[in-house]
């Protein structure tokens, strides 16, 4: 009896302590006034970079750190998605779209004192496209790059094999300038551990799986016009701490060890978004929302009627609300009805094809010969209407399973790591697997839907549609922006009409910051912070 009492106490005491409000009262933060210099910003991220090298790396967790160290030639203004100057003061594109001439700023220096000029740009472009180095920069023009000419010390012309439309977008994000002197000094492979750029923050140290420390670059004086801060960074240091466990990221914020926690779980977000000591920081992500690739070659999803029924048969509103309720008031993780999120260049609301219509789904299946069986699952020719869906996280899959049961579809769910999910889809062991892609240019859709990417690439729907291929090929090289938008709208309409994919909900950047953090905003991807603009109040 006494043992039971003690056990009860042992369990309830920690629960009470956890549920009780924090013992230490936090000081109320001062209202925002003029930016002040100083302090260390601790920014908690969820994974370790592979290398701090924009020419060779494309991992998001690497970019979040090295976007502070390295700068691009141009930048996309989040206000209107147009391109503005950064390291390049002006630029022009040839009429055939194959040559881009950039006139560079003359006052820029690398952290090691070496000058930034046309030679440096050429070095960077050639390095990124050196096949021996096998760049993992996903947005770079691999396959389209021809060469770079140094026209004069501060003018450079980049030539492409064909007019690659996403090029300027890539120049605004992925092509960032590294110091040629440093690469020559430490070698191609080790540069990523001793990075030198032109950015407002310079590299101090990187303890793998633990932290990346950057400090203010004192001579920084070439902030792009779209920045409010025209001089050097306000904070003395930024420390990117790597914590893979979501609850611990938030615990670090609550304990005052960190000022920003990224990828916050919906429960923690809901709990702390109402707390005045913290502020919500949300970046809406452009690109492909959380979408399932549907295997178009494996029964029963090889039937068009079945794929369409899946798209009519799920209630995306409920899925978004049930799984991600706390994010909804901030516009994040909203339901998605088309293949580009609404902040993407090229998004067209007119391409939305499906909504929740359970009768329509049932009719489609009936007409295709799928008759309701005795156990509530449809059958045709002795086969049950069942399929396998794999994903990385719980939530939407379970809700989809229950929705689809109502129309007589049996959905088997598997939740596992990305490696296993991708492999199962590749081997056609599963019918559906997730394929989101945050990207500012709609060309990313071709990675999922062009026939050349079946097998060794990301075309997990196994789509081989020559008409669709043609639209993508045209759109990739179309110089006229308005026409290009139309082409992508066409591609999306066709994809949705053929139901090659199943969009479900958006995936956005949901972070929490201490109320002390001022001026934090994200670039056009909604994901990468401009640390240069951030200052800490008392």
């Amino acid at each position: 009896m006494q043992q039971r009492v003690l056990l009860l106490l042992a369990v309830s005491l920690p629960v009470m302590l956890v549920a009780a409000p924090a013992a230490r009262p936090a000081p109320a933060p001062q209202p925002a006034s003029a930016p002040r210099s100083g302090g260390t910003l601790v920014y908690v991220i969820e994974g370790d970079p592979d290398r701090l090298d924009p020419n060779l790396s494309g991992l998001r967790t690497s970019q979040i750190a090295f976007f502070q160290i390295f700068e691009p030639l141009v930048v996309r203004d989040p206000a209107d998605n147009s391109f503005k100057p950064w390291l390049a003061a002006s630029w022009e594109v040839s009429a055939d779209g194959r040559a881009y001439t950039f006139r560079l700023r003359r006052d820029v220096k690398f952290h090691d004192g070496s000058p930034f000029n046309a030679d440096a740009v050429k070095f960077n472009m050639d390095r990124t496209h050196d096949p021996a180095l096998a760049t993992r920069c996903g947005g770079c023009a691999v396959g389209f790059y021809e060469g770079t000419d140094v026209v004069d010390p501060f003018t450079v012309r980049i030539r492409l094999r064909a007019p690659w439309a996403p090029f300027l977008d890539a120049m605004s994000l992925f092509y960032r300038m590294v110091s040629p002197d440093q690469v020559r000094k430490v070698g191609h492979q080790d540069f990523g551990r001793q990075p030198i750029g032109t950015g407002p923050m310079r590299f101090v140290e990187w303890v793998p799986n633990s932290r990346i420390v950057l400090e203010r670059y004192a001579d920084y004086n070439w902030a792009p016009p779209i920045f409010r801060n025209k001089g050097k960074a306000y904070v003395d240091r930024v420390v990117f701490r790597i914590i893979t466990e979501p609850s611990t990221r938030v615990a670090a914020l609550e304990a005052g060890e960190a000022q920003v926690a990224t990828a916050v779980s919906s429960q923690d977000f809901g709990r702390l978004s109402k707390d005045s000591r913290y502020q919500v920081v949300v970046g809406l992500s452009p690109g492909v929302p959380f979408t399932f690739a549907i295997n178009t070659t494996k029964a029963p999803t090889n039937e068009l009627a079945v794929r369409r029924a899946l798209n009519w048969g799920i209630d995306r509103e409920i899925i978004a609300r049930a799984s991600y309720q706390p994010f909804q008031p901030f516009g994040a993780f909203r339901p998605a009805y088309t293949l580009l999120s609404h902040t993407t260049w090229g998004y067209d609301k007119g391409t939305e094809t499906y909504e929740y219509d359970i009768d329509r789904a049932r009719t489609l299946l009936e007409e295709a010969g799928w008759r309701m069986g005795p156990d509530g699952i449809r059958q045709k020719g002795g086969q049950r209407l069942e399929m396998v869906l794999n994903s990385w996280e719980h939530g939407p899959p379970e809700i989809m399973q229950s929705h689809l049961r109502r129309i007589g579809v049996s959905l088997k769910i598997g939740i596992m790591n990305a490696l296993a999910v991708n492999e199962a889809q590749r081997k056609a062991d599963s019918h559906m697997s997730p394929l989101p892609a945050a990207r500012t240019d709609p060309d990313v859709l071709s990675a999922f839907l062009h026939s050349r990417n079946v097998g060794s690439g990301f075309n997990f729907s196994f789509v081989k549609d020559p008409d669709l291929d043609r639209i993508f090929d045209q759109a990739a090289t179309e110089v006229d922006a308005a026409r290009r938008k139309q082409l992508y709208a066409q591609a999306v309409r066709r994809t949705l009409d053929r139901a090659y994919m199943l969009p479900v909900h958006n995936r956005d950047n949901v972070s929490l910051a201490s109320a002390r953090v001022q001026g934090l905003r994200f670039d056009v991807t909604g994901f990468f912070p401009w640390i240069h603009e951030v200052w800490l109040s008392q």
Partner: protein, 307 residues
């Protein structure tokens, strides 16, 4: 003793080699394309993926990949991580001390919390203290370390502010993770020590010692304890081995780098060189630990010396 050690070392080498071969086979035959996972959430055209595969040698036939890497490892070259291109030897040299420190501290906590608990519980058998201490022990090895860790962070870091929530710099960051791991070990140890003590306390030589008029403390500590320790020592060393890899959960929760984390992330990304190198090193550590255990055994139990 000399020949004994040599024979055991010989066994150890065979074990380590066997592990190396098995792991090489398993990680290569496991499903999954590391290049696609390496690109993270940045999908690219298939052409670029092929260039990357070629640069990492992943387009060669499997048997060629395995034998090339094996030959290199025999020469002492553990290769480079497919993900970061860092030398695997460097990664291992970085994480082994971190995990060893955590596992050792956890073991110390486990022994300091568990052994006295077991001894006192045995001497107080059937009384109130016994049941309380036994409950403490059971709680320890029933709660998953994941949960214990998060609980400790919530109470001692966020609420009370006594310790940091995470990290690996400095002594203070070691306490909570070592406690989480140690409590688990303490629980099992306490139970084992308790039952070992109970058994020993009933032996005839203990009755004789009491009859001779020795103080109860001396009877317990000098005569009974040492013999009760034998099964506990076995458990402790087995636990130390499992602490090395079990630490991965605690390392993840507390944001610490470590050997277990290196292996797990390597497996999840199919980073062969990292997995092979790290498992090899782990096998060596286990083998050496086992050898030391056996030597400790000989010291504790004189009967074994003449076996």
């Amino acid at each position: 003793m000399g020949p004994f050690v040599l024979v055991r070392l010989g066994h150890g080498v065979v074990v380590v080699l066997g592990v190396a071969v098995l792991v090489a086979l398993m990680i290569h035959l496991a499903p999954g394309d590391p290049v696609i996972v390496m690109m993270g959430d940045a999908p690219v055209q298939g052409e670029q993926l092929q260039i990357i595969r070629r640069s990492l040698g992943l387009d060669r036939p499997l048997i060629v990949q395995i034998t090339t890497r094996a030959a290199r490892m025999l020469r002492g070259d553990l290769g480079r991580s497919l993900r970061s291109n860092r030398p695997v030897a460097q990664d291992i040299a970085r994480v082994v001390p971190l995990t060893m420190v955590l596992a050792t501290t956890a073991m110390v906590f486990g022994i300091v919390m568990g052994v006295p608990t077991g001894v006192v519980a045995a001497t107080q058998r059937g009384r109130w203290l016994d049941s309380q201490l036994s409950a403490f022990a059971v709680l320890g090895f029933s709660m998953p370390t994941f949960w214990t860790g998060l609980l400790l962070i919530s109470i001692f870091s966020v609420r009370l502010g006594w310790f940091p929530t995470s990290g690996q710099e400095g002594f203070k960051t070691l306490i909570l993770p070592a406690l989480a791991l140690g409590w688990y070990a303490a629980g099992a140890l306490a139970r084992l020590v308790r039952s070992g003590m109970l058994e020993v306390l009933q032996q005839e030589y203990v009755t004789v010692a009491r009859a001779k008029g020795l103080r109860e403390t001396l009877v317990v500590l000098r005569h009974a304890f040492r013999n009760a320790l034998i099964p506990a020592v076995t458990l402790a060393t087995v636990q130390f081995g499992s602490l090395l890899s079990g630490a991965v959960v605690v390392e993840t929760v507390f944001g610490r780098d470590g050997l277990g984390r290196l292996i797990v992330i390597g497996i999840l990304e199919k980073d062969f060189p990292v997995v092979q190198g790290a498992v090899l090193v782990t096998a060596v550590i286990y083998t050496v630990t086992n050898l030391l255990t056996d030597l400790l055994y000989l010291r504790l139990d004189p009967r074994l010396r003449y076996a």
